[in-house]
């Protein structure tokens, strides 16, 4: 016991990471049927990330056929050679190997979160310093919340390929907090190549990266309160040019994406992968149930209105990216986390894996939890998440297996689930903005919000 405590105090991160990895590897060893059960759950696997569909693609790929011909596989082509290297997943060894791969990804993601939290970007940016910065959680706690989040664990065992997207997104954020323009854009391009929707993070991550570049240029790191306008004016001159930065960031992103697409074309016989991978999330042809908001709506839709509402739904998702950057320009990490939430909730093929990853990312803004838990509805919303994550599978069972329910049962629960996620998102936005406001007006601390 002594030795364990000592070990924990000396290498807390190693202990946490190895404990999380052991848990992920021990679960499938103890319950061998669990990974395949989870891979088949609609809450985890969607048409664009399912592990089973990936295997269909690999089978076709290994037999020299175009994997996109079958109309089942819609995932990025570069995943194919990677997964062909693993032993066949039907064997025990293959299952363990794939779980090991996803465990490594989870641990690396947690490491990214640790680095992001340790950088302190959430509380101190180049133009703003939060009055609550002492209340931020330990980086290790942030990593622990990600690794021990039940949604993350279940997703790791269910092995959807969006885990790769999550990892590359977090990697991009991590490099942005270090002010590394090229690598940040590179990682974000990989994430977008895998799932398309991370491209919406381009403005907030760019802003974050730019902000960090500004911060690193400043010689004196004033952390006490607001900066005087005088200082702003003086530091304005040595800030990097916005346009210059934007062009470099964007061209890095485009170059990488083009490179990846070219590489994919080399692997495959035709460009058929482009519509299959990128038009599927845009046009939503496969309406397999998922915990998102789109599938039921588009099942009920009359065909003439379909393209109109596809446009509306996508525009709605798009419309948050830039406004978040404008409103939270002083706290760019908050803009990134909020945008992550928008994509996790509103994407056409939503899944609990990305929602869980976003919920864990919220701990990056832990300094504002005090505001949201006293003034807002965090606890009821989390309780609703608990209710829906139990009721969702039950209603799915009643609909499809017991036959005593119908599609409305499951759809109603997904609505409630998304409502709870949205409440958490709006509460986060509220608390972040309130924190910013209280920095300017400390006398307003603790007062009720009132419409004037």
């Amino acid at each position: 016991m002594e030795a364990v405590t000592k070990l924990y105090h000396e290498h807390p991160r190693t202990v946490l990471f190895s404990a999380a990895a052991t848990l992920r590897l021990a679960l499938p060893l103890a319950f061998p049927a669990l990974p395949d059960l989870l891979s088949a759950r609609v809450e985890i696997s969607t048409p664009v990330n399912s592990f089973k569909r990936l295997h269909e693609g690999i089978f076709l790929f290994e037999h020299g056929l175009d994997p996109y011909d079958g109309g089942i596989f819609h995932q990025a082509p570069l995943l194919l050679p990677l997964f062909s290297l693993l032993p066949a997943s039907t064997s025990v060894l293959g299952r363990l190997a794939s779980i090991l791969l996803f465990t490594i990804l989870d641990v690396l993601s947690a490491d990214c979160l640790h680095a992001i939290a340790a950088s302190g970007t959430a509380t101190v940016s180049s133009v703003f310093s939060s009055p609550r910065k002492t209340q931020a959680w330990q980086p290790l706690t942030v990593a622990a919340v990600y690794l021990l989040n039940p949604f993350t664990i279940l997703t790791c065992l269910g092995r959807p390929t969006t885990v790769f997207t999550t990892f590359f997104t977090l990697l991009s954020i991590r490099h942005a907090t270090e002010g590394k323009l090229q690598t940040s854009a590179f990682a974000l391009a990989i994430a977008s190549y895998l799932s398309l929707h991370p491209a919406l993070l381009l403005p907030p991550i760019g802003l974050l990266c730019y902000d960090q570049l500004c911060k690193s240029r400043e010689p004196v790191n004033d952390t006490d309160g607001l900066k005087s306008p005088m200082k702003h004016a003086s530091s304005q001159t040595d800030r990097p040019k916005v346009l210059d930065f934007g062009i470099r960031f964007f061209s890095c992103f485009l170059l990488t994406a083009a490179l990846l697409l070219a590489l994919s074309r080399v692997l495959l016989p035709s460009f058929a992968f482009l519509p299959s991978v990128y038009l599927t999330p845009l046009r939503v042809p496969d309406l397999t149930p998922n915990p998102g908001l789109w599938w039921y709506f588009f099942i009920e839709m009359f065909d003439p209105f379909r393209s109109f509402f596809l446009g509306v739904f996508w525009l709605h998702m798009l419309s948050y990216s830039v406004p978040f950057c404008l409103r939270m320009r002083k706290q760019p990490l908050a803009a990134v986390v909020s945008m992550l939430g928008i994509t996790a909730i509103f994407q056409p093929y939503a899944n609990v894996g990305e929602a869980g990853a976003w919920l864990s990312c919220l701990t990056l803004l832990s300094h504002t939890f005090e505001v949201s838990s006293t003034h807002r509805y965090t606890f009821p919303a989390v309780a609703v998440l608990l209710y829906t994550s139990l009721l969702g599978p039950a209603f799915h069972h009643l609909w499809l297996y017991a036959g005593s329910g119908n599609a409305n049962f499951f759809y109603a629960i997904t609505l409630v689930w998304n409502l709870a996620l949205l409440i958490i998102l709006t509460d986060t936005v509220y608390s972040v903005l309130r924190d910013e406001w209280e920095a300017e007006r400390p006398e307003g601390k603790g007062k009720e919000v009132r419409q004037i």
Partner: protein
């Protein structure tokens, strides 16, 4: 506008902190009251057949005349077979089926539970419908031994006669499967499991062979239970059994069809749950409702039909009761007419209700009317949990003056300094204490994992040691909360967080369960209701009273009480064995709900009460 402003002003009111326990109590009372209202005419409805294709009792039944002689011959044959050893009996039945022109097969099965072994063989034959394309089938069941372990002489003979009779008709648009399992519970279970799988790998607890012969998707199953001996026995009414495993119910249309044919066409009275006399009074309705709740919450098989329902095959058992003037041919005609109705179906039964509570054979309560009762009960836990969560974030010192009233309290002020600005703000609004979640969350997780130990004991011990296991579990359960409370010294806030998390989990689990098995959720919710009201208290009298009420409503004590009240003759050992069999062989969740959901919540309640003693001693 004014109202919303007032509601907003109420947000900081100390009144709110005191409200949750009263709201919870109200929820429990409403839940109980709701159930008592259900038998009234205003809340229940007359049953009706909603699938138009069924047309119950619209056809003339031709089963009669010379078929009666064949039935009598088969009854003697069955009696003769019953005197023979097991193998010869099965061979005899197979021969009769083959002689009637059916394709036949058999399936041996074996279950091994709590040191007991259950062996048997399912014998079955298929009448290929002349107009069928082998995609759909209906099942006629007659177990060799009925649910009360009597030999089902007339039932089996009637099924054989009907099979011979059915095979001569040209009207069948679905195949008819005649199934004769050795017993009423495990035979049908093994058969229906094998029917819906390609292969079932043998495990330590069961070994089922694959079926050599299959037909299409099963549409409905009707089981006959008529144990009259070789010289016959007339009956007065039909008892209709409808409960499936884990509280799943067959579509109400099937039940309605059987009732309307039996009582409308043949004039045979129908009863439920062995309530021979039913005057349709409030009392009788309530009593049938209570029987329905009891069988549904246990979730165990109630007849040969039970095994089919989890596979979405609607099934009922027709059981003859009493001594009257209806003979075997009337039962045969009822069965024929029910099969003609099922034969009419164009799609699987889906029109009518799957969630209902029956008050008598032609009166029911639909899901919208009864579900709120269990949901309100689950809501009582959630309400308390929310209240406790809010309280856990408040400091002791700050809550005390709040409770005394706001008006004359001197508000402590605090200066907030930021940058160059200074401001004076009331201290109360700034101060919230940080909640220490780690220890409560870990304790909750630990207790939930511990719950699998009694579950394992109650399902894996041998018949002889099961009772001992329960005594041991009882002793440990009563000591565990106190020892946990003494080893882990929880602060007031931690105890409140622990109870809050536990109650919210219990509420969510019960609400989920209510959608799957309403009765079980209701019963567990009622038994666990004290958990929402126990509080940590420094008064030793109050603590003792709470501990006593918790001890009385503890899961192990409930098992003893259940045995004393409902199965006084059977003995504890037999009851525990049946429960273990239900879990291992039938896949009934009851034990998991008791030990994996209720027991951990109960232990946490005990820890919270116990921590009060600790705080008083300090």
């Amino acid at each position: 506008m004014a109202l919303s402003a007032r509601l907003l002003a109420l947000r900081g009111s100390p009144f709110l902190y005191k409200l949750p326990p009263y709201l919870s109590a109200l929820c429990v009372l409403v839940g109980i009251g709701w159930i008592l209202l259900l038998p009234l005419n205003e809340y229940s409805r007359q049953t009706y057949v909603s699938e138009n294709a069924i047309l119950p009792g619209q056809v003339h039944t031709y089963f009669g005349g010379s078929e009666h002689n064949i039935f009598r011959a088969f009854r003697q044959e069955v009696y003769a077979l019953s005197q023979q050893p097991e193998d010869a009996r099965q061979a005899g039945i197979l021969k009769i089926l083959a002689d009637s022109g059916l394709k036949t097969a058999s399936q041996p099965y074996a279950y091994q539970v709590a040191g007991e072994s259950i062996n048997g063989t399912n014998v079955y034959g298929i009448v290929q419908g002349p107009r069928a394309d082998a995609t759909e089938a209906m099942i006629l069941l007659a177990a060799w031994r009925n649910f009360d372990d009597q030999i089902n002489y007339s039932g089996v003979a009637l099924a054989l006669t009907l099979a011979r009779y059915f095979s001569r008709w040209s009207i069948w648009s679905k195949d008819i499967i005649l199934l004769i399992p050795s017993d009423s519970t495990y035979g049908p279970l093994a058969w229906v499991d094998a029917y819906h799988s390609i292969s079932i790998p043998p495990t330590s607890s069961r070994n089922i062979s694959a079926l050599p012969l299959k037909a299409g998707a099963l549409q409905a199953a009707v089981a006959l239970d008529y144990p009259a001996g070789p010289w016959g026995q007339r009956f007065s009414s039909l008892d209709i059994l409808y409960d499936g495993l884990n509280g799943a119910l067959p579509n109400l249309d099937l039940l309605n069809t059987a009732v309307s044919i039996a009582s409308g066409q043949m004039g045979i009275a129908c009863t439920l749950h062995d309530h021979a006399t039913h005057s349709d009074s409030y009392r009788d309705r309530l009593s049938v409702l209570a029987s329905g709740l009891a069988t549904q919450s246990l979730g165990h098989a109630t007849g040969p039909h039970s095994a089919f329902i989890p596979y979405h095959v609607d099934a009922i058992t027709l059981k003859t009761v009493g001594d009257g003037w209806h003979d075997e041919m009337s039962l045969g005609r009822v069965t024929e007419s029910v099969f003609r109705s099922i034969n009419n179906l164009l799609e699987h039964l889906h029109q009518s209700f799957f969630f209902y509570i029956l008050l008598n054979a032609n009166r029911f309560v639909s899901v919208g009317n009864y579900l709120p009762a269990a949901m309100v009960l689950a809501g009582s836990f959630t309400t308390s949990a929310l209240g406790l969560w809010v309280l856990s974030g408040r400091d002791d010192v700050l809550v005390a003056p709040l409770a005394g009233g706001l008006a004359k309290q001197k508000v402590e002020m605090e200066t907030v300094k930021l940058g160059g600005d200074m401001a004076l703000v009331p201290k109360r609004s700034v101060q919230t204490i940080e909640r220490e979640l780690f220890v409560p969350a870990l304790l909750l997780l630990g207790v939930h994992i511990l719950g699998y130990i009694p579950l394992w004991l109650m399902t894996s011990l041998n018949r002889e040691t099961l009772a001992l296991g329960l005594h041991l579990t009882t002793a440990v359960s009563l000591i565990l909360p106190i020892s946990l409370a003494t080893t882990i010294r929880l602060t007031r806030s931690q105890a409140q967080i622990l109870q809050s998390l536990s109650l919210i989990l219990l509420g969510a689990l019960l609400a989920t369960l209510a959608t799957l098995n309403f009765s079980l959720a209701l019963v567990i919710g009622l038994l666990a209701s004290p958990l929402a009201f126990v509080r940590r208290s420094s008064s030793s009298l109050l603590t003792a009273a709470q501990a006593l009420s918790l001890a009385i409503t503890s899961p192990p004590v409930a098992v003893y009480a259940f045995q004393r009240v409902f199965y006084p003759a059977a003995g504890l050992e037999k009851l525990l064995l049946e429960l273990a069999k239900g879990w291992s062989a039938q896949g009934v969740w009851l034990l998991w709900v008791a030990w994996g959901v209720w027991w951990p919540a109960w232990v946490v309640g005990g820890v919270v009460v116990g921590s009060g003693v600790m705080s008083a001693r300090r």
